[in-house]
């Protein structure tokens, strides 16, 4: 697994799919790049404005300044919309680190090859601040800004699918389907 390095964006518990990408935006085609970039533009736009200190996306941009999202429990709960991990991917997020995930979001992230959903036992939302420089290497997360390290959960069975880049590549590599 390649190293991931970039700025962290920290959110709380129970971040649902309507916060990640509100339903009004689900009309854009995901397979046409010109339309799909809108998913980056509107990523995290359903968060309660009162809880936001720094916007995830600045102004009219299509990409975020942040690379790694840090969350608490039950990240991605709610809808089955694959537009949720896709939005984060389009915005430039490479990995989410959370204490737990809703299962459909987790599946979609892995099977669609959008981002890596790391699990952590630590309450990282209290340890890391938005804008901190983070590096993930193997199962070690290092906060460069504070010079602290944390151990992430093993990816287990799904690592093969992540390395392959999603369920289709995985199935081809394992002779399950032929393209």
């Amino acid at each position: 697994m390649d190293k991931i390095r970039g700025k962290a964006y920290v959110v709380g518990d129970n971040i649902d799919t309507d916060q990640i990408i509100p339903a009004i935006h689900l009309v854009y085609r995901t397979d046409l790049e010109e339309e799909a970039k809108n998913y980056g533009k509107y990523a995290m736009s359903g968060m309660d404005p009162k809880t936001i200190e720094v916007p995830f996306i600045q102004g009219d941009r299509y990409e975020s300044d942040y690379t790694i999202m840090i969350s608490g429990k039950n990240f991605g709960c709610g809808s089955s919309r694959e537009h949720a991990p896709l939005s984060l991917d389009k915005a430039g997020i490479k990995a989410v680190v959370a204490e737990s995930y809703a299962r459909i979001f987790y599946r979609n992230s892995v099977d669609g090859g959008f981002l890596i959903p790391y699990e952590t036992k630590d309450r990282l939302v209290d340890e890391i601040k938005t804008g901190d420089e983070i590096e993930i290497s193997g199962n070690i997360l290092k906060n460069i800004t504070t010079n602290k390290e944390y151990i992430l959960g093993e990816l287990g069975d799904i690592e093969g699918i992540i390395t392959a880049g999603g369920i289709f590549n995985y199935a081809v590599q394992n002779g399950f389907i032929t393209k």
Partner: protein, 438 residues
């Protein structure tokens, strides 16, 4: 083994499976709609080729239902896209919008059109696909990539879930609906209490519920993070299926020595009307404790609360009354809408009762349950406080970020429509206990 373990063992050609096993299963039905259909079809074509054929044109059920009655150009383009795909691929079960084949909300239409079968494995590109578990089948929501994979192969990998058992002994009081039952259990185990697990409902009180009420319960398994909800098929299931010409299927029951993650036992007679407060379906409290909360809108509709049983319940309370706040009525499907004309209470049709009470009635679709395009019927645009029979009360779920949503049964939503405050439906107990005509 539990019911769900037996179904997954059967569809993976194994004699035994246990929770945590990752297995490949054969899929009986793949359901998709207008919001996730285009993405799924794009992924299918991208991976299997522009001219590839789906694995089985009789096993894909395409039910556009989300953004139908809107002028949004992208929403209309998506309907055109799935229509073209359905025709190219000769999809047998395509319920085309703007024709007499249109049905409405996919989870209710699946049941009404006879696509749900005990023992089957059904996946759908919608988190509320778990609704079909009411028929004793494994039914779960997936994303577009997984659906595109199934479209080409008829298979998908699943991790066998542990099951949580919810046992309701005795009989539910007349004022209790499936919605109260499921909200109570979500409140008890928490908003993520069933993550990666199956929620199995049983007991004498559950056996006493009709299929629509069972669907309401299984529908909201996802709101506790559940992979699926399930209720064993019985005589009630059999009769519902017979009326739709479905006679061949496999009935599974959990073994007496089946292993559960946990078992929760309830005295059904003690269940009270409950409401889930913003912003989580697990934020549950008895309706009677919330009489100080003023509401500005009542909304009765969706896969969760827009079935015929739901509107009979609402009509019982609204009959002969005037609503105090704006009240939206959205039948889930054309079939439910037709029942508005044929079912009567005290000589008045459901439609007459709703119209005379001052309700606004919209066409069948998902409508404002998930907000949707700006011109969606019943969508919030300001700081509305909604008492709703839908399934989610997240921030901005029904449209506006400033509106609030309280989730409740149709009895509670109708009672609150009459008072403008959250109202325990036991206030109208004599109306609740009136039977429909005939």
């Amino acid at each position: 083994m539990t019911i769900v373990e037996k179904i997954l063992a059967n569809r993976s050609n194994r004699t035994q499976v246990k929770p945590g096993d990752n297995i490949w299963v054969d899929v009986d039905i793949l359901m998709t709609h207008d919001v996730c259909g285009p993405g799924t079809m794009g992924i299918f074509k991208g991976n299997f080729g522009e001219n590839a054929k789906v694995w089985d044109k009789e096993k894909i059920v395409l039910i556009p239902d989300h953004y139908i009655f809107t002028k949004d150009k992208y929403a209309m383009r998506n309907i055109e896209y799935v229509t073209k795909f359905a025709k190219e691929q000769e999809i047998k079960h395509f319920y085309e919008p703007f024709t007499s084949d249109y049905k409405g909300v996919c989870h209710v239409a699946l049941a009404e059109e006879g696509h749900n079968k005990p023992g089957d494995v059904l996946f759908g590109t919608d988190s509320h696909t778990c609704t079909s578990g009411a028929f004793g089948q494994f039914a779960s929501g997936i994303g577009n990539t997984d659906a595109g994979f199934i479209m080409g192969t008829g298979k998908l990998w699943v991790r066998v879930p542990e099951s949580i058992k919810f046992q309701f002994e005795g009989k539910f009081p007349s004022y209790i609906m499936g919605k109260d039952v499921v909200l109570q259990t979500i409140g008890d185990i928490g908003f993520d209490g069933a993550t990666y697990r199956c929620m199995e409902y049983g007991g004498q009180a559950i056996s006493g519920l009709n299929m629509e009420e069972r669907m309401t319960i299984c529908n909201m398994a996802i709101e506790a993070g559940g992979k699926c909800g399930i209720i064993a098929a019985d005589e009630v299931t059999k009769k519902y299926l017979e009326e739709r010409g479905v006679t061949e299927y496999e009935v599974h029951n959990s073994d007496t020595d089946a292993v559960y993650h946990s078992v929760h036992t309830y005295d059904a007679s003690k269940v009270v009307p409950v409401v889930a407060k913003p912003y989580s379906p697990g934020n549950v409290e008895p309706a009677e404790n919330l009489s100080h909360i003023e509401v500005t809108r009542s909304y009765i509709g969706s896969c969760t609360g827009g079935k015929t049983t739901d509107f009979i319940a609402a009509a019982k309370i609204l009959k002969g009354e005037k609503v105090k706040i704006e009240t939206f009525i959205v039948p889930a499907t054309r079939n439910v809408e037709r029942n508005f004309e044929t079912i009567t209470i005290g000589g008045e049709t459901l439609r007459e009762i709703f119209e005379n009470a001052g309700c606004k009635i919209g066409p069948p679709s998902c409508a404002a349950c998930l907000g949707g395009p700006e011109d969606t019927f019943g969508r919030t645009h300001a700081d509305e406080v909604v008492i709703s029979t839908t399934n989610r009360n997240f921030h901005g779920r029904m449209g506006s970020m400033d509106s609030k949503v309280y989730l409740a049964s149709p009895f509670t939503a109708a009672a609150s429509a009459l008072t403008g405050r959250i109202t325990d439906p036991r206030k109208y107990i004599s109306k609740i206990e009136v039977e429909i005509d005939g």
